[in-house]
């Protein structure tokens, strides 16, 4: 049995806003009966262009029904701009979380909301150039890319849990893996993992040993790591370097540049006070 939160159970047993809004401003249907879940969302705006009424009809499991019910409750009173900001994680969080394997239910809610808003605003319903990747569940590369990006997914299993893609015959697993790699490569520079102090010190030492010392030694010099305080890397120069007038320049242009490149871009190199 799935471990649903009390909130999921409550929204499943007493779903809010079941039905279809009359004279709706925006309507969308996502999913299909073949895929095992489908959601029809409709909403109506008030005179201030805020969502006055939102209703759903859902075919699917308890978490799909609960996600739909949660979504309609969440977006009531929002402007369309505000509603656009609602993510699938917001829906899951509203319900106190969903089992990993059921995250696709929250993604379906987000998709329906987006399409219903597009339906009202007259934007194209289909993303141009999207290609079907998962034939079993009709999931496009765009949908997978977005799920990977927004939920920081790393494996095919994650993608299946969030989009259903790859949950059928499995023929698309390689294609999904490629999409994950591509998307993760794009986002990597922006969200470089934060290093712990120990990791940072270790990486600095390794970099000094591997990249820097050999060159310095070649010129009869050497460098020693004294301390790391926050982003300040405190070093002492030895041998020929200690007497070299250009050692400041070496530290800034060579050592610091290397460390910034290979360890962390915000490092500042400092020579230990004599």
């Amino acid at each position: 049995m799935w471990e649903y939160t009390d909130k999921v159970r409550e929204h499943f047993l007493n779903p809010r806003n079941v039905g279809e809004v009359e004279n709706a401003d925006g309507v969308a249907e996502v999913g299909s009966i073949a895929c095992g879940d489908a959601l029809k969302l409709s909403f109506k705006l008030d005179e201030n262009k805020r969502i006055k009424e939102a209703m759903f009809k859902t075919f699917g499991c308890a978490s799909a029904i609960a996600s739909s019910s949660a979504l309609t409750e969440m977006i009531k009173g929002m402007t369309l701009e505000e509603a656009k900001q609602v993510t699938n994680q917001d829906i899951a969080a509203f319900l106190g979380g969903l089992p990993q394997e059921k995250m696709h239910c929250s993604v379906m809610g987000k998709e329906a909301l987006e399409k219903a808003i597009e339906n009202y605003q007259g934007a194209p319903a289909k993303e141009p150039g999207a290609q079907i990747v998962c034939e079993c569940f009709g999931v496009t590369d765009r949908e997978i890319e977005r799920a990977v990006r927004e939920n920081n997914l790393a494996t095919v299993e994650d993608v299946t849990n969030y989009t259903k893609a790859g949950g059928g015959c499995g023929n698309c697993h390689d294609a999904i893996r490629q999409i994950i790699e591509r998307v993760r490569a794009e986002v990597k520079p922006a969200v470089q993992p934060k290093l712990t102090n120990i990791q940072k010190i270790k990486m600095i030492e390794e970099t000094l040993e591997r990249e820097i010392r050999p060159s310095l030694k070649h010129d009869g010099g050497d460098i020693e790591l004294i301390d790391v305080v926050g982003n300040r890397v405190i070093v002492a120069v030895r041998g020929a370097c200690a007497a070299c007038k250009a050692s400041d320049i070496t530290l800034k242009h060579f050592v610091e540049a290397k460390l910034r490149d290979l360890v962390s871009p915000d490092l500042i190199i400092e020579e230990v006070a004599p």
């Binding site: 499943f12 073949a34 075919f59 699917g60 949950g167």
Partner: protein
């Protein structure tokens, strides 16, 4: 809240008589049957009796009974032995609707280089005998076909199939986990080589199974260890459970008639009343070639998990072949193999009864289920359009 348990193909209640028979072997009579003292020896005597009781249920001789830990182990032991004793043969045959114990095992063997044929079934879940015969080659090591399907209850003519397979010198195994104790069979009157039984499907506890191996069939053990089970399955015997399974077998033989009269009648009433009260519903699987305790009904345009959870609110226990309950995103492989349309497969519910179910319980389900289906259909985006189409037509 009272529990209405209609999920007996998943597992069954341990019969009170079985529990009673087992209890002394946990507490006072804990001896090891292999011991040389009479404290252990008296347990060995009880194991002999249990082996005779199991053998009697299926018309076997006691030395053809190997106790295992479960149906899955029995299946593994049978198939691995068949392959080990036919090392030159690289082909295996099964059906598309087998229990995961066989399905995954065959898939695993396919990964190890064996050629696997999965025989299809028709809309009613029936097997095509001609296709079975056509699939057999001199390279075929083993054929494994379930006796009765756990999801639909559909019965395969395995005794006939075994003859066709056997006369070509190929080993025949059947997973009889669901049929044992529900339909009568006699191993003296067929040529099946190996057969798997699970204790917890016939009112014995979980953790005990049987592999029947016909006398004279070459056997290569899967579980290597001590001399227990004549060296065919190492490991100290699970004495309380074996004794429990012996008692359960004795009871099953006695209750076989009840299964096919009282239980069948309750099942038929549940089925016909639900079909009568709930539009757009139908039974999956052959109505006649079927276990007496099982019905698999699809309710169109609703999803099984919702049905199960709403029934759960009333204490009603059943199971579903829907994707959401399978954990695999696709509906049951059995229903897909039968070509059940998606609109029907996702809303399939299996009710499996036992001799412990009562008329009142069946009445209760017949009363509670129609409003549950209606409630979910009113939430379903597909139901409105269908309902409107019906009105306008």
């Amino acid at each position: 809240m009272k529990t209405v348990y209609l999920d007996n193909n998943a597992t069954t209640q341990v019969a009170p008589e079985v529990l009673e028979a087992m209890l002394p072997y946990f507490s006072d009579l804990y001896g090891n049957p292999s011991s040389m003292h009479s404290f252990g020896g008296q347990v060995a005597q009880k194991l002999r009796e249990a082996r005779e009781q199991v053998a009697a249920l299926i018309g076997a001789t006691p030395d053809e009974i190997i106790f295992t830990s479960c149906g899955t182990e029995s299946d593994n032991a049978a198939i691995r032995s068949a392959l080990a004793t036919n090392p030159e043969k690289r082909h295996m045959v099964t059906s598309r609707v087998e229990h995961p114990a066989i399905r995954s095992l065959f898939a695993n063997m396919a990964g190890q280089g064996y050629r696997v044929t999965e025989l299809p079934v028709d809309k009613s879940g029936a097997l095509d005998m001609e296709q079975l015969v056509a699939s057999l080659t001199p390279d075929t090591a083993v054929v494994s076909l379930m006796w009765a399907n756990n999801e639909t209850g559909v019965i395969f003519p395995v005794e006939k199939a075994a003859e066709a397979v056997h006369e070509r010198g190929i080993l025949f195994h059947t997973d009889a986990v669901q049929s044992t104790g529900k339909i009568h069979f006699d191993m003296k009157k067929n040529v099946i080589d190996m057969l798997s039984i699970s204790g917890h499907k016939l009112h014995a506890p979980k953790g005990i199974g049987v592999l029947y191996v016909r006398r004279g069939t070459k056997f290569s053990p899967f579980m290597i260890g001590g001399h227990q089970e004549k060296g065919r399955r190492g490991g100290t015997e699970n004495t309380p459970s074996i004794i429990g399974l012996g008692k359960a077998s004795e009871l099953a033989a006695r209750h076989l008639a009840t299964e096919n009269t009282t239980v069948r009648r309750l099942r038929d009433r549940l089925e016909s009343d639900l079909l009568a009260h709930i539009p757009q519903s139908r039974v999956n699987g052959d109505l006649l070639q079927r276990l007496p305790n099982t019905t698999n009904i699809s309710f169109e345009f609703v999803e099984g998990e919702g049905i199960l959870l709403l029934m759960n609110e009333y204490g009603i226990c059943a199971s579903s072949g829907s994707a959401c309950t399978s954990g695999s995103l696709q509906p049951s492989h059995v229903l897909r193999a039968m070509g059940v349309p998606f609109t029907m497969a996702h809303g399939s519910i299996r009710f499996s009864l036992s001799i412990y179910n009562t008329e009142e319980e069946i009445d209760f389900v017949i009363e509670k289920l129609p409003p549950i289906i209606e409630r979910l259909r009113n939430m379903s985006p597909y139901w409105t359009s269908v309902a409107q189409a019906c009105v306008s037509a």
